[in-house]
């Protein structure tokens, strides 16, 4: 077995002073086998970008250990940085430069004397060859993103980091990027660590997924392993009046009933089997909405964290607000 491409043990990152700041990463551990696509799935503010910043050496580690491509992030930062590529969530290029000049600068920064053949190859691979001498400020978002990936691949890195690769892209471009991620991984043999808050993206692209919430990894495994963790379906029920929880819980086949926002989440072995008794227990005129969710990463996330992905920004802001309040009072 080859050494893992990334290994993280007890990694903790605190912003601000101890006890007052935000703990963006809380005792995170995982191991990514070389040659795989690893996804970090979590809502906004979960700590995904922070993890990339820490592993690429942009931010210091507060506690714990990490190795990337076999090098210690704390003590061998320079070696790490010549073996990784990085694709930012917001595309970062030099807008005054052409595509080729951006590649030239990247080659300079990576000390690559013979960069041109490789750059041409990448430009062709990403269908940017004809536009190589145009200023990148004239490029579409999709083209810019592709050039950024080309920059990340120029020095033949072992690992590339992609922070929310499809955030803010339209559906078509997102599909294209999915193909690129899969293709890049296959053709160039790199290990990919990507972050996303799109469940379907993690499901479609990743060999392994770690679900991260409030800086903690709450579960990890292959998409199918994760899906197998939830037993049964979820019935989401929204009513205009309070429901009779004990009566619903008593229905054979219902595992539990709990509130989630203004909905009720009813877990059942098989949704279809309990639906008739359920509807008999809830006055029909009070039902606003009812839906059935089969096991998916979405229900896994819900089950593990007690909230839905992308439904939780207000709460997070409150957490940050309290952190700031504490700092002000000090």
């Amino acid at each position: 077995m080859t050494a893992p491409a990334i290994e993280v043990k007890g990694l903790t990152k605190r912003y601000g002073s101890a006890g007052h700041g935000v703990v963006a990463l809380d005792d995170v551990s995982f191991s990514i086998p070389a040659g795989t696509v690893f996804g970090l799935l979590g809502p906004n503010g979960a700590g995904k970008t922070t993890l990339i910043k820490v592993l690429t050496g942009i931010s210091d580690i507060s506690a714990g250990d990490a190795t990337v491509a076999g090098y210690d992030v704390r003590t061998q930062s320079m070696a790490v940085r010549s073996h990784i590529g990085w694709v930012a969530a917001e595309v970062i290029l030099d807008d005054d430069f052409t595509a080729r000049e951006n590649l030239w600068l990247q080659a300079k920064l990576q000390s690559l004397p013979d960069w041109e053949p490789r750059a041409d190859l990448l430009l062709k691979y990403f269908a940017l060859y004809d536009r190589a001498d145009d200023k990148v400020s004239q490029f579409s978002t999709g083209m810019r993103k592709k050039l950024e990936i080309a920059l990340a691949l120029l020095h033949q890195p072992d690992v590339i980091f992609m922070d929310e690769p499809t955030i803010g892209l339209d559906v078509g471009t997102r599909r294209m990027l999915w193909d690129i991620v899969t293709g890049v991984h296959r053709e160039f043999g790199v290990t990919v660590l990507l972050t996303t808050h799109y469940i379907e993206e993690a499901d479609a692209l990743c060999d392994q997924i770690a679900i991260i919430d409030f800086g903690k990894v709450v579960a990890q495994g292959t998409p199918s392993e994760l899906k197998a963790r939830v037993h049964g379906d979820v019935i989401a029920l929204e009513t205009s009046r309070p429901i009779d929880v004990p009566r619903l819980t008593a229905i054979p086949g219902v595992q539990d009933v709990r509130p989630q926002g203004n909905e009720w989440m009813i877990r059942a072995t098989t949704a279809e089997a309990v639906l008739p008794s359920l509807l008999a227990a809830v006055p029909a005129e009070t039902v606003r909405r009812i839906s059935i969710e089969k096991p998916s990463l979405e229900t896994v996330f819900l089950e593990l964290t007690g909230h839905r992905l992308g439904q939780d920004e207000p709460m997070r802001d409150i957490r940050k607000f309290y952190a700031q309040m504490r700092q002000v009072r000090k």
Binding site: G57, S59, A88, I92, D96, F97, L105, K108
Partner: protein, 255 residues
């Protein structure tokens, strides 16, 4: 390290000189400066000018000083490119490569100083147009450029050291402005130091702008050359280069 330095240094130059607007302003500004500031004594009696600045032509007096003070804005401009790189994330792109923070600092400082020197030939031509004549030996020309280069390196390093540790983009600007004014006016770059109060004379006496202005002025006016000033300016440049290297290496932050 050489590769990263040359890449980043060339980037600094290319980005500036490709911008036609920046080029135009670079060329036009010295003419405007001399036209407006230099003409402010146009109708004054020659005796008044001579007693005020100690030279027959105010422009001849002004030119070395103007070149010196403009190295201050050169330095400030250079540190702005660092702030920009931080704001647009490009600093992260640089830092996620095996490029040391010291090299980033060096390329910015040298890039900005080089950019600043481009003003020199333009300014000299502008002065010729306004009737100043130059009788410098090649060594003197070289020494003059060298003095200005030292000044530019020193100020670029100073302002870069101020911007490097900061992650917001307003504080460095305010601090830089705060430093600029006393440096500019408490020097003999624009006015004759003989009329200064003693406290201003004290600042002026150690102000590198004064050293550069006096050296340049001796070349233009053909008076005796204070060669020691060149040593002072070289020491100033080296000291600030060292300070900047250390500050940036330790505290250059993007997050």
């Amino acid at each position: 390290m050489r590769s990263q330095f040359s890449g980043l240094y060339l980037r600094e130059l290319l980005r500036t000189f490709r911008n036609p607007f920046v080029l135009l302003i670079t060329v036009v500004q010295p003419f405007m400066w001399l036209a407006f500031f230099g003409s402010s004594f146009a109708n004054a009696p020659p005796s008044l000018v001579e007693s005020f600045v100690g030279a027959k032509s105010y422009i001849a007096f002004l030119l070395p000083g103007t070149l010196s003070t403009s190295m201050l804005s050169v330095g400030m401009f250079g540190s702005m490119s660092t702030i920009q790189d931080k704001r647009f994330g490009f600093m992260k792109r640089i830092l996620i490569t095996p490029t040391s923070k010291g090299v980033i600092f060096l390329s910015k400082a040298l890039g900005s100083a080089t950019r600043g020197l481009v003003q020199f030939p333009i300014m000299v031509v502008a002065a010729l147009v306004f009737g100043v004549s130059f009788q410098l030996s090649p060594v003197e020309w070289l020494a003059w450029v060298g003095a200005l280069f030292c000044l530019a390196i020193g100020f670029s390093s100073l302002f870069l050291a101020i911007t490097a540790p900061s992650t917001d983009w307003q504080t460095p600007g305010v601090v830089s402005n705060f430093i600029t004014m006393p440096l500019m006016f408490a020097s003999t770059a624009l006015f004759n130091g003989a009329f200064f109060p003693s406290w201003m004379r004290a600042i002026s006496a150690v102000n590198p702008i004064t050293f550069s202005a006096l050296l340049g002025r001796s070349f233009v006016l053909g008076t005796s050359v204070p060669w020691i000033n060149l040593g002072y300016l070289a020491a100033f440049a080296l000291a600030l280069l060292g300070i900047g290297w250390i500050v940036a290496g330790r505290w250059l932050k993007v997050d």
